[in-house]
């Protein structure tokens, strides 16, 4: 009797089995760490392979506008300028449009229509970049050159921002196609942030005599503020790194011009155009540009993720 009790006791205390579970855990951990490895590798590669130009130019790489592969002169300023300018233009167009659409989808539309339209909007995000570029070349560029550009120049042509010859390609065109590409992100994330605002907030404003617009503007939007800003950062991160569509319509001119109609260049675009045939120092310069882009998008994306995660926590905490 005693022995069977003892055996029963021994079996009931779980002995640490180095069995299948530990193996499974280990294997999957290995693959999960691959994600770390990839990111680390990327940072190392970018740093090492850009060593020649970093050594040669130091910080002046970021400020110089001279880009001449023949004489081995490389400066990143025009690309940084173009990248930032086109992204800012994209946001200027896409944010009002996107937040407005998100308001409609969250506050006004019947759930069925809202869900259907959101589905369609999110399909826009699945369209490959090169297809946007294809469309932009053959529709947006002529549109800009023959109709939109002249119309804008009639009113604002005197200002330095809108002067100059109209090629159809340029910063503004690139900004416009980027706006279309980033809209789905702004709409989707903002809509979720708006829907997370508790009903009582809206009713509080309405009960004081606010119109629906006033209640949205004063009670709902401030509550969803963090999520909407997160969506804007997300869109910014995408715009900064967008390659194909921008390459195809920005004009590929490594120079800084004041006019929005002028052709320019972006970091991603120049890498796409010149990398395959570049050698030695030229290649190092392009990789250093890649490093700049890497750091830029990491910072912006990292902030976006933080903000979005904070909204979902905040929304439920305030309920």
């Amino acid at each position: 009797m005693a022995t069977s009790v003892a055996t029963a006791q021994a079996r009931s205390t779980p002995k640490h089995r180095f069995g299948a579970d530990e193996v499974a855990c280990g294997i999957t951990l290995l693959f999960a760490l691959a994600i770390f490895a990839i990111t680390l590798l990327m940072a190392i590669q970018l740093w090492r392979n850009s060593a020649p130009t970093r050594a040669k130019f130091g910080f002046s790489f970021l400020t110089s506008s001279l880009w001449n592969p023949v004489t081995d002169q490389f400066g990143a300023a025009p690309y940084i300028y173009g990248t930032v300018l086109t992204s800012v233009l994209a946001l200027l167009i896409a944010v009002p449009l996107g937040v407005g659409a998100a308001i409609y989808l969250s506050e006004l539309a019947v759930p069925k229509i809202s869900n259907a339209l959101t589905f369609l909007v999110e399909l826009l995000a699945a369209v490959p970049s090169v297809i946007y570029g294809l469309l932009a070349i053959f529709t947006l560029v002529p549109l800009m050159r023959d109709y939109l550009g002249p119309a804008i120049q009639k009113v604002l042509g005197a200002t330095p921002l809108f002067s100059g010859h109209l090629y159809g390609v340029g910063y503004l065109t690139a900004g416009m196609i980027l706006a279309i590409m980033t809209l789905p992100y702004i709409i989707s994330v903002s809509r979720e942030a708006l829907m997370a605002v508790p009903r009582e907030q809206r009713e509080a404003a309405l009960a004081l005599g606010a119109t629906k617009w006033e209640s949205t503007k004063d009670a709902v939007l401030p509550f969803a503020r963090l999520g909407i800003i997160g969506s804007i950062f997300l869109a910014l991160a995408r715009a900064l790194g967008e390659t194909m569509a921008v390459t195809m319509v920005i004009g590929n001119q490594p120079a800084i011009h004041a006019s929005l109609f002028a052709p320019g260049y972006s970091i991603a675009a120049v890498i796409a155009s010149e990398f395959a045939e570049a050698d030695k120092l030229h290649r190092s310069a392009l990789i250093e540009l890649g490093l700049v882009l890497f750091v830029l998008t990491m910072v912006v994306n990292g902030s976006a993720q933080l903000m979005i995660k904070l909204t979902t926590k905040k929304g439920s905490a305030k309920a």
Binding site: A205, L206, A207, L208, A210, D218, A219, P222
Partner: protein, 272 residues
């Protein structure tokens, strides 16, 4: 049929004022009100009057329609999908369903079950209503804020932190802030939907006390789950059951001498 109820202290109607109250136009009157949530018939032929500057309590078991009825008085049910209201609801004789809804909601204020201050400072919460209704001109915002907070019995507790976030206040303080916010637009009627259900007894007592003090500037309708509360603060009480108004009379009468059996059953606790 007499039941042990705490003596209501706010009831001191002389025969004179009773007569006056009965002959004057009621501040609000609901006539033949029917309300539907989709296909569900939630309110059946409700006829109810609210006398000016009196407190009316609406009581009844869960799901009886008292909150639904209250929310129709400032038309806030219209913001829900698939609802339908039939009948007439009059404010000073005019049908509110024909009037501009934002004006209605300025004149008929509402305090909700759970405190819902805006994510702004205490000061901004109170000035919001007057600002959008254009009532900040001609009086200083600071004066208005102080006046509203005093009426809500909150001034002493927050006067030194007006510009801090409203969320820093306790639950009871937030609810009094919501009352102050509602009072800031000078409503003629104040609707309260179970305002103390999320609060502790001390906070509840503070709110009940302030209701008594503001009723001379404002007609009050309060939905409550708590019969003792109705007995403490209300001049008249209406009893709802399954979407119908069973009985409406002076609070005294309802609790001591109800005329309908259902009322008596509820009062004596035969069902909750």
């Amino acid at each position: 049929m007499a039941v042990n109820q705490p003596q209501p202290t706010s009831l001191s109607m002389t025969s004179e004022s009773t007569a006056a109250a009965q002959t004057a136009t009621p501040k609000m009157r609901a006539s033949n009100v029917n309300f539907y949530y989709g296909k569900f018939h939630a309110l059946h032929d409700v006829n109810l009057e609210f006398a000016t500057n009196k407190v009316t309590a609406l009581i009844g078991p869960s799901g009886c329609g008292k909150s639904t009825f209250l929310r129709n008085l400032n038309r806030i049910n219209e913001t829900l999908r698939d609802t339908r209201l039939e009948g007439e609801i009059a404010l000073d004789g005019e049908n509110i369903l024909d009037m501009d809804v934002t004006e209605i909601r300025r004149r008929i204020g509402m305090v909700f079950q759970r405190p819902n201050p805006f994510p702004k400072s205490i000061f901004e919460n109170i000035t919001y209503g007057p600002k959008i209704n254009g009532r900040l001109k001609g009086q200083s915002a600071a004066d208005l804020v102080e006046k509203s907070l005093r009426r809500a019995a909150l001034w002493e507790e927050v006067k030194d932190k007006l510009h801090e976030s409203a969320y820093a206040l306790s639950g009871g303080q937030q609810q009094r802030l919501c009352i102050a916010r509602a009072l800031a637009v000078d409503p003629e009627v104040l609707l309260l939907d179970e305002p103390c259900s999320a609060l502790d007894p001390i906070a509840t007592a503070k709110i009940e006390d302030l209701l008594v003090t503001i009723k001379d500037q404002c007609t009050i309708v309060i939905v409550t789950h708590n019969m003792q509360q109705a007995a403490r603060v209300a001049d008249t009480t209406g009893f709802f059951l399954l979407g119908k108004l069973i009985e409406h009379n002076k609070t005294d009468v309802i609790f001591k001498n109800p005329s309908k059996k259902e009322t008596e059953d509820y009062i004596t606790g035969r069902f909750g």
